[in-house]
């Protein structure tokens, strides 16, 4: 029998669940492999491992420090609060193909209730846990459509904050667009997984 190939690094899984206003599930993509850590993620670790300042392109397309040795109370902060569209899991309507050097979503849905908006819930970052043969961190965020119109989400990602600057560390174009009717919610889950 052919041996199952072991994963050789850090896996990233993406799931998108749409619920109606009563919480009933309308659609669920299930966990799909995400392929799109982008350069800023490794830039952070390049600085961390070496203890030297590192800059990269932030979400405003400016070069900013993603790691600096002397700062305290910072990390790869994705813990966005309610209504915060600057960091945490983010979603958008663009479908430009992913690139290693993406620094933002193509067309992010920003916080609000008008066209081009979505209402951001608070981020949840679950504790690291052994789950069967794996070790997982599950992160999730709910988005509510209060715009009065259908939203079609085509991309998702994760923005991290470091010293009041924001960096895209993950960007994925969804395998299939996800429709979020008015008053319905979309919950996006990113699971970071290691397996020996």
């Amino acid at each position: 029998m052919k041996e199952k190939k072991k994963p050789n690094g850090i896996q990233l899984l993406l799931r998108a669940v749409v619920r109606d206003p009563d919480g009933k599930v309308i659609s669920d993509t299930g966990r799909k492999p995400s392929k799109s850590f982008v350069i800023a993620f490794l830039k952070f670790f390049g600085g961390l491992f070496d203890g030297v300042a590192v800059s990269t392109t932030d979400t405003s397309n400016a070069s900013s420090v993603i790691y600096s040795p002397g700062y305290t109370n910072w990390g790869l902060d994705i813990d966005g609060a309610v209504n915060d569209d600057a960091h945490g899991i983010v979603v958008g309507t663009g479908d430009t193909v992913e690139d290693n050097e993406d620094y933002k979503l193509d067309t992010q849905l920003t916080e609000g209730i008008g066209a081009g908006n979505v209402t951001h819930g608070a981020m949840t970052v679950e504790a690291t846990a052994v789950v069967g043969a794996n070790v997982d961190i599950e992160t999730k965020r709910a988005f509510t459509n209060n715009t009065g119109s259908l939203i079609t989400v085509k991309e998702a990602g994760m923005y991290a904050a470091f010293y009041n600057k924001y960096f895209c560390i993950i960007r994925d174009v969804l395998e299939a667009a996800v429709d979020v009717p008015d008053k319905c919610s979309l919950t996006v889950y990113y699971t970071v997984r290691t397996t020996v």
């Binding site: 350069i39 993620f41 390049g46 491992f49 700062y71 305290t72 790869l76 690291t128 961190i137 290691t194």
Partner: protein, 195 residues
């Protein structure tokens, strides 16, 4: 499946500096739980403990520390406490998600069974073809006059400098690598992202 791929590569040079072996890139599949525990603490900017190499719980993220007091891998010459480390895996311990130390680390030195740890060096994340690569490298020199040292496990340990605690991030059991007297073994870890 794409992900943050990780590879190791083992090079061996004879006493004249001639390359006598290059393993090429080999898949590493052995991030251990402490890596994700670091990531969790960093994601939330909260204190986070993890099992250290002494099998005790200690802070892998201390948010009150300066950033350069945690997650350091840049060990200097002669320092076998962190950075890339190598071992003999005398107990033949298999890789496990919850490994917290090498089975049997080879210590720094010039005596039989020891290796001289050189400094850890980095090649910063950059575009390499279709990928983004970040390389971490460390040579190990066998300075004993006659005896061979056989490496059977490798890994990466990070240092929390404030508390002087060490946490294993990666551990790979590797094919036996005999390092004869005067030879140098070099381990290169490549962290790679590809969209």
């Amino acid at each position: 499946m794409k992900m943050m791929e990780t590879y190791y590569r083992i090079l061996k040079h004879d006493p004249d500096g001639k390359l006598v072996k290059d393993s090429g890139l080999i898949s590493s599949h052995s991030y251990v739980i402490q890596f994700l525990e670091y990531l969790e603490g960093s994601f939330k900017v909260v204190d986070k403990t993890a099992t250290d190499v002494d099998n005790a719980e200690s802070k892998i993220v201390d948010k009150s520390d300066a950033m350069d007091a945690q997650g350091r891998v840049d060990a200097a010459v002669g320092d076998d406490t962190y950075g890339i480390v190598v071992g003999t895996n005398a107990g033949t311990t298999a890789e496990d998600n919850e490994n917290y130390a090498l089975d049997t680390k080879i210590v720094e030195g010039v005596a039989s069974g020891e290796l001289s740890y050189q400094a850890v060096t980095f090649v910063a994340p950059r575009v390499v073809g279709a990928n983004i690569d970040f390389d971490v490298t460390r040579p190990f020199l066998n300075e004993h006059a006659t005896d061979t040292v056989t490496v059977k496990e490798i890994g990466i340990i990070c240092k929390n400098t404030t508390d002087t605690k060490y946490h294993l991030l990666l551990r790979d059991v590797v094919a036996d690598e005999a390092v004869a007297a005067g030879f140098t073994l070099t381990v290169v870890y490549t962290l790679r992202t590809t969209v």
